[in-house]
């Protein structure tokens, strides 16, 4: 299809209606070069996001100013998956905490059942790097205002969502909020998800968690996600449950870009 044909009103209208890749034109039966390379570029960015390593020092430096005034530490931990390839092949290892980390975390165990944040690379370290500090910056004041006791923030490498159960258990957490990189799509290479679990301990199922997803530029804004998270934390405390019992008050989904 020529550029002139693609500029025709029908095609232009389609493009305004959706974030999907419509009205791309044709080179024979294939995509025109520019549209083809756009997709290759998006895939390249998504691949790099999957294989990106968490820069824990930079992340800690971004988070510490929020916690230091509260007298709370930023801690480190890792799952039993020693590298990215193993992480991808062995989800079970990504859910288990290294024994030495469990022992080290136990030194910070508290008796007031605090809310613990776990920041894990998941499937997109770049998503975590980009969005987690902003989310924490918005969430911490809201949670403090609600009187929620806050615990340490734990930066976890090669982590799956359920790693938060083991970390929360080691720290005596009343709730754990896992901030984790989501599987990158072509249109969202760096996106963050948040999973909230009451009374975390190994063996919890996904049905016992609440999830906020698609936190990113062009998706759910960190401030909006923080407000929903604070609401979920309060509500979970009130009814004594996370997961299906909170299902009817689903957080609002991501807004479409204009």
């Amino acid at each position: 299809m020529t550029d002139a044909a693609l500029a025709a009103p029908g095609w232009a209208a389609l493009r305004r209606m959706t974030p999907a890749r419509v009205a791309l034109g044709r080179a024979g039966n294939a995509l025109p070069t520019a549209a083809h390379l756009d997709i290759q570029e998006a895939h390249a960015r998504a691949r790099d996001a999957v294989w990106s390593a968490l820069d824990a020092d930079a992340l800690a430096a971004a988070i510490l100013p929020m916690l230091d005034p509260l007298g709370l530490p930023v801690l480190r931990a890792a799952s039993q998956a020693p590298d990215r390839r193993t992480y991808l092949l062995r989800p079970d290892l990504g859910r288990r905490l290294r024994a030495e980390d469990a022992a080290a975390l136990a030194a910070y165990r508290r008796n007031d059942a605090p809310l613990v944040f776990v920041v894990a690379d998941g499937l997109s370290a770049s998503g975590v790097q980009a969005e987690a500090p902003a989310l924490l910056a918005a969430a911490v004041p809201l949670l403090r205002a609600s009187g929620v006791p806050l615990g340490p923030v734990v930066i976890a490498a090669q982590g799956r969502v359920a790693l938060g159960d083991a970390i929360g258990a080691a720290l005596g957490a009343g709730m754990v909020a896992v901030l984790i990189g989501e599987r990158p799509g072509l249109s969202a290479p760096a996106s963050l998800g948040v999973y909230l679990t009451l009374d975390p301990r190994p063996g919890r199922t996904d049905a016992e968690r609440n999830c906020l997803s698609n936190i990113r530029a062009g998706g759910l804004a960190p401030a909006a996600a923080a407000a929903t998270l604070a609401w979920l934390v309060r509500e979970a405390g009130r009814i004594g449950a996370t997961g299906i019992a909170l299902k009817d008050m689903r957080p609002t989904g991501p807004a479409l870009p204009p």
Binding site: A13, L89, G185
Partner: protein
């Protein structure tokens, strides 16, 4: 009873049928994750040779999951057609492979044989077949189904138009439908995966799809891929349901994890049939399956993922579906790690489905954490096209912006049809001609303009 075979002076022993099948399976990450893959290449070929020597009849006396414990095993054995099985009843698995590849296995002979085969027989023979074998035999299988058009005729390749939107926005969905129709997609089904599985969202999407189809008089069927219970509620509310969708697996336990049973599926089928919406046929079900789903639900009973996948086809064929597809690259690299594993699995699934008499399509796809890319998908799509795949997906620019994975694009559909001389379903092809789509005209025809669909 056990099985054994000697390779290079070492005697490899396999305790039971499910272990033999698992060890004979070409390597994939999911079987390694389950701890049931062959421990060496020698052990794998020993298992394949022992499997090749096994009489097909053996599969009627030893089940991979006990009859008493599993409703899918009962379905398989209770519905086995001994008369249809008779022509191959004397063969071993290896002899069966030779027969399938021979001139004796004509399209008519294969169609007549399907009710006589169990999924485990199909899985077993596939494990000792190369890709070219899987392609050659599948290409001889004819499965034709009908609802508002005719799917699966020789020389045809249909496409599901998949207009998913991250917020179920009707405008976003309509834009993708128009784009897809303009590129020849939609004859298999116009099928949306809803972003939220609620009754209200499903009712809204069903009305949207039916409105577009009616206004443009498209000879195709629509589907909202909600849970079967949601679709049943929608039918009870009088919603325009063409096809009932459900994900199914190969064990009672994995189906329970999906929230379904055989009884529930039968009830849904009766409800859909009672609506009498099909104009040329009564195939009212759309099923999706995928290797690894049972393991991810811890419902695999120590069986390899490909054998369990083939058992899912026994569930599907119990309900005369219009469409069945494996979502082969979607389930993740812990089950199928790379392009090589996805390619083989896609061809195995298509072969087993066709051999068992299903209208088998494949979602030729990958996620960004798998070691695969668009080149792998081009290769698999072309191989499946040669194998006579019933349908594939059509997604705008291959990028599903709701499910965050890559499938085949509308353009890919055009390309594979052109390369292999395949055409859309005849009723749909005639409609395209009437609408002026598919010729030299590249403008959106006025009759398809979003404004006329009431959506701009």
């Amino acid at each position: 009873m056990g099985f054994a075979h000697v390779v290079g002076g070492t005697r490899h022993v396999f305790a039971d049928l499910r272990t033999l099948l698992a060890r004979a399976t070409p390597f994939r990450s999911g079987d390694a994750l389950a701890g049931i893959a062959a421990e060496s290449a020698a052990q794998r070929i020993a298992a394949q040779r022992a499997l090749a020597d096994l009489p097909l009849r053996h599969f009627l006396s030893e089940s991979v999951i006990p009859y008493e414990r599993d409703a899918v095993t009962r379905l398989i054995l209770d519905r086995h057609d001994a008369a249809a099985f008779a022509p191959v009843a004397h063969l071993t698995v290896g002899g069966f492979r030779d027969w399938l590849l021979s001139e004796a296995a004509t399209p008519a002979a294969l169609a007549a044989l399907a009710p006589g085969l169990t999924p485990e027989m199909a899985a077993a023979v596939s494990k000792i077949m190369r890709l070219s074998d899987l392609i050659a035999v599948a290409a001889k299988c004819r499965v034709v189904t009908r609802f508002r058009n005719t799917i699966g005729l020789e020389g045809r390749l249909s496409i599901r138009l998949q207009p998913n939107d991250p917020t179920d926005d009707p405008r976003g969905i309509a834009a993708q439908i128009v784009d897809g129709l303009m590129l020849g997609a939609g004859d298999a089904v116009i099928g949306i995966n809803p972003a939220t599985d609620s009754l209200e969202a499903t009712l809204r999407l069903l009305d949207l799809l039916d409105g577009v189809r009616e206004r443009c008089a498209i000879p195709t069927q629509s589907c909202v891929l909600a849970h079967v219970t949601t679709t049943m509620l929608a039918m009870a509310r009088g919603a325009p349901v063409d096809l009932v969708f459900q994900s199914v697996g190969g064990t009672e336990a994995v189906n329970r994890s999906f929230g379904v049973s055989l009884e529930l599926l039968a009830e849904a089928r009766e409800a859909a049939l009672s609506l009498r919406r099909g104009t040329v046929g009564e195939n009212v079900f759309y099923f999706e399956t995928g290797q690894g789903s049972a393991l991810s639900a811890d419902a695999h009973h120590g069986c390899d993922q490909q054998t369990i996948e083939a058992r899912a086809y026994a569930v599907a064929r119990g309900f005369a579906p219009l469409l069945v597809n494996s979502v082969v690259g979607f389930i993740g690299p812990e089950y199928l790690y790379d392009g090589k594993q996805i390619t083989r699995a896609g061809l195995e699934d298509h072969f087993c489905g066709k051999l068992l008499g299903l209208p088998m399509g494949v979602d030729v796809c990958y996620t960004n954490h798998a070691e695969a890319d668009g080149d792998d998908m081009d290769a698999l799509l072309t191989l499946l096209g040669v194998a006579g795949v019933t349908y594939v997906m059509g997604v705008a620019g291959a990028d599903d912006v709701m499910l965050a994975y890559q499938s085949t694009s509308f353009h890919d559909g055009l390309a594979v049809r052109a390369a292999l001389g395949r055409r859309p379903a005849p009723e749909f092809e005639a409609w395209m001609e009437r609408m002026g789509i598919g010729g030299t005209t590249r403008e959106v025809p006025a009759r398809l303009a979003p404004a006329l669909l009431g959506l701009a």
